[in-house]
Symmetry: C3
Subunit: 138 residues, 3 copies
């Protein structure tokens, strides 16, 4: 069967970046696919996916602070039904994106040495976030 | 035939967000594909694609205003051949992106409950925008 | 063989945008694929991929200056191991993204008339950047 799908569940507890590279790699390995394409979709409008440096935690802290500057909380939003972190979370999600496609070679994602795949939680409260995965290959 | 392509045409009339989730879903249903991958590409440099909340129109209004703040009109641009909304439109397009990939399961996009796919028009005048679709699956 | 992979290498020398549309198109042509999907992944955390206007060099200069405004150098970053352009480069990469998917029809990418695919270098020093390509089709 050349098309595989799967869903990862990631528990979160406030703004943060959760590396899911190994979870994705483990699922790919289990399918036996050697050459192909991995696609990941974050199924939410206030959490997103980003590929960034996986070595220094300071990079992730700087990135979260930078997102706070680009999409700050404040009185400028019409939509605030769920609190002051609601609309900024939608904006940060649009900025960083929810969909990633990654080529597979020799059974592994063709990521660079320093690249990791992260789920980014933008809301203040705890959630269980879902990332849909698709793999096509041979 | 495992690879399908199609083009959607969306008429626009100034800055706005146009939901195309149902148009894409209808095309997928017509192909009979049950498991696979949907890819959408906005074929323009001043309109983009974004996945965001599909319930509250206030979210879309806030998002358009936020894009105006991040890429404001002004005298700071060297490129202004087509007017003051020209370069901001290119920047908003680069920020939100033109390419989306979405896994398909049971004949449907694996979007979350609140996610919709939107074409975002960034120019002031009316256009007919094209979104290229690709579907691979079985 | 329906799944193809390839790696492009792009030498850079400081912040700039390098069009790779023709390199990708030439590789697609060599595979003989007529209908399918092209995916590109920039294998770095301080260089990214963007689809934007390929006609006016002023658009690219304006885009680089705008990225400098959204992710400026300064003392606000905790992560500065590799110099003042280090963390801004990670942020610009997260903002513009490293992964693109483009439908293929009649052996060509379904890009619009004015769209080009660019590798964007965000670091001050010279690098050899790699873009992983995947093509599935028939």
């Amino acid at each position: 069967m050349p098309h595989h799908t799967h869903t990862l569940t990631i528990p979160t507890s406030g703004p943060g970046m959760h590396e899911i590279t190994r979870d994705i790699a483990a699922w790919i390995a289990g399918t036996g696919i050697r050459t192909g394409l991995l696609t990941a979709l974050c199924r939410h409008t206030s959490a997103s996916l980003v590929i960034t440096e996986n070595a220094s935690p300071a990079v992730r802290r700087d990135m979260l602070r930078w997102l706070d500057r680009l999409a700050p909380q404040g009185v400028q939003y019409e939509h605030d039904d769920e609190g002051p972190d609601d609309m900024p979370a939608h904006l940060k999600t649009a900025l960083t994106g929810v969909s990633l496609a990654i080529p597979i070679e020799d059974g592994a994602m063709m990521l660079g040495t320093w690249q990791g795949v992260f789920l980014v939680e933008h809301r203040a409260q705890a959630y269980r976030r879902e990332v849909a995965l698709h793999l096509a290959g041979e």
